[in-house]
């Protein structure tokens, strides 16, 4: 088995098209995961035990079942129930939903790590709930959340190849389609792997830098 540059050059344009879809899925999925995660975190901290427990078990159910199966569910079951989503939309929804259960823990920990005295201080200054959140809690809670949220972005990027199972032609599927039709596996698969390395090593390094940067400030425990 010899490496052929011809094959590599051949497959690259198709991979580039797939890459656009991968990036789209990663970022829209991440925005969804952050938004839903914040919602889940707020519901989880609800004073009503019923809401809090329901949120907990729904999150645990999503977290303890494979993303692939959830994607199949969205892709095959929803149309039968009368809801038609494009493969990419189903994929993004699946990614966002699955990882929202992870990001919600980040949000919850971030908010709960703000010392209790800060809530009391806001109360004694007669702040409204909005003011308390906007001017006291969130400015302290958000910085320590940034590194873990960035890490989940990287994780989601690495999970996007799963979307190929529901026919989304992203980076990995583009290479795989080429492989199957030309019976050339070495070059496309190696290129996909190399590409993931090229993106994830520097981004992991950046995430590590963020962690160092935000460790000193905030953090909650003084």
């Amino acid at each position: 088995m010899e490496w052929s540059w011809q094959v590599a050059l051949d497959v690259l344009p198709q991979m580039a098209q797939g890459l656009v879809i991968t990036i789209e899925a990663t970022f829209i999925g991440a925005i969804l995961a952050y938004a839903l995660g914040l919602m889940l975190a707020i519901l989880r901290m609800s004073k009503s035990r019923a809401i809090s427990l329901t949120t907990y078990w729904v999150s645990e159910f999503i977290r303890r079942t494979p993303l692939l199966v959830q994607l199949y569910f969205l892709f095959y079951v929803l149309p039968d129930l009368g809801l038609f989503l494009s493969p990419l939309a189903a994929g993004i929804l699946g990614l966002g939903l699955h990882f929202s259960t992870y990001t919600s823990e980040v949000f919850r920990a971030g908010i709960e790590n703000v010392p209790h005295g800060q809530w009391e201080a806001a109360k004694s200054l007669n702040y409204k709930p909005y003011q308390t959140m906007r001017y006291v809690i969130l400015p302290q809670a958000i910085p320590p959340m940034i590194p873990p949220l960035a890490n989940y972005l990287i994780t989601m990027f690495k999970e996007t190849p799963l979307l190929s199972a529901i026919t989304v032609v992203e980076l990995f599927n583009a290479a795989n389609i080429y492989s199957n039709s030309h019976y050339k596996y070495l070059e496309p698969m190696t290129l996909v792997g190399a590409f993931f390395l090229i993106v994830s090593i520097p981004s992991a390094y950046i995430a590590m830098r963020l962690e160092k940067k935000y460790q000193r400030r905030g953090g909650g425990s003084v």
Binding site: M1, F61, R63, R64, T65, P66, L67, L68, V69, Q70, Y72, F73, Y76, V77, D80, L81, Y102, E105, K158, E159, T160, P161, L162, S164, A165, F172, N176, S179, Y185, L186, M189, T190, V192, G193, F196, L197, S200, I201, A204
Partner: protein
């Protein structure tokens, strides 16, 4: 629902395959975690660097890509792996890279004075790790290992894409043969949830057992 009952034998078979795959790759991952994680403390830079390369490679490339690489590319290079073996190796090697960071972090979290005390007592490297560092580091690892075990279980679903007949694969068979969508996917999600919950229970039990009678608190984190 009657139709699904007919298929219960293959669902049971799939459950067994999923459990086998999870247990076998957990074993592989555990060994790799310790070997690679402890290599990071080696006095030889070659060993340390190899461990870092292993870590970055398997953590940086996507698990699905690794699986397809083992299934499609290795045979071309003359290495023939049975699908199940390829699945075990891919899942085990991938999770092993995450596990090695857990081992490294836990050993590093043992207070500096303990390292120095072992050196002062003229312990050999083996004695230092065996009698001083690891007994204190292992309890710290347990909760994170528990989370990784769930990730591993979910990763085995991806192995269905390389023709391993696990739960997800069986659900697809049922879907294709009966045109049912809701039932097979809901059933396997519940099965995955039950397996995962058992794994959580086992991890919690071990954590409780290992911390009992010792003055350590194991912090559960996500």
């Amino acid at each position: 629902m009657d139709q699904i009952l007919e298929y219960s034998p293959i669902l049971i078979e799939g459950t067994i395959t999923t459990i086998e795959l999870t247990v076998a790759s957990a074993f592989v991952a555990l060994i790799i975690s310790f070997v690679v994680g402890l290599s990071r403390f080696s006095r030889f830079s070659a060993v340390r660097i190899s461990a870092i390369i292993y870590l970055e490679f398997f953590r940086g490339t996507s698990a699905i890509v690794q699986m397809f690489f083992m299934f499609y590319v290795l045979p071309l290079l003359g290495v023939h792996l049975a699908p199940l073996l390829a699945g075990i190796i891919a899942c085990g090697f991938n999770l092993g890279s995450y596990g090695s960071e857990v081992v490294r972090g836990a050993v590093q979290s043992v207070p500096r004075a303990q390292h120095e005390a072992a050196t002062a007592l003229n312990y050999t490297t083996y004695q230092k790790f065996r009698y001083v560092l690891l007994p204190q580091a292992i309890p710290v690892m347990i909760p994170t290992f528990g989370n990784l075990l769930i990730e591993l279980l979910k990763l085995t679903a991806v192995a269905s894409l390389i023709t391993i007949s696990d739960l997800t694969f069986m659900a697809q068979i049922i879907r294709v043969q009966t045109a049912l969508t809701l039932e097979p996917f809901v059933i396997i999600m519940v099965i995955y949830f039950i397996i995962a919950s058992c794994l959580v229970g086992i991890t919690d039990f071990i954590a409780k057992k290992i911390t009992k009678g010792r003055n350590i608190t194991v912090r559960k984190e996500i």
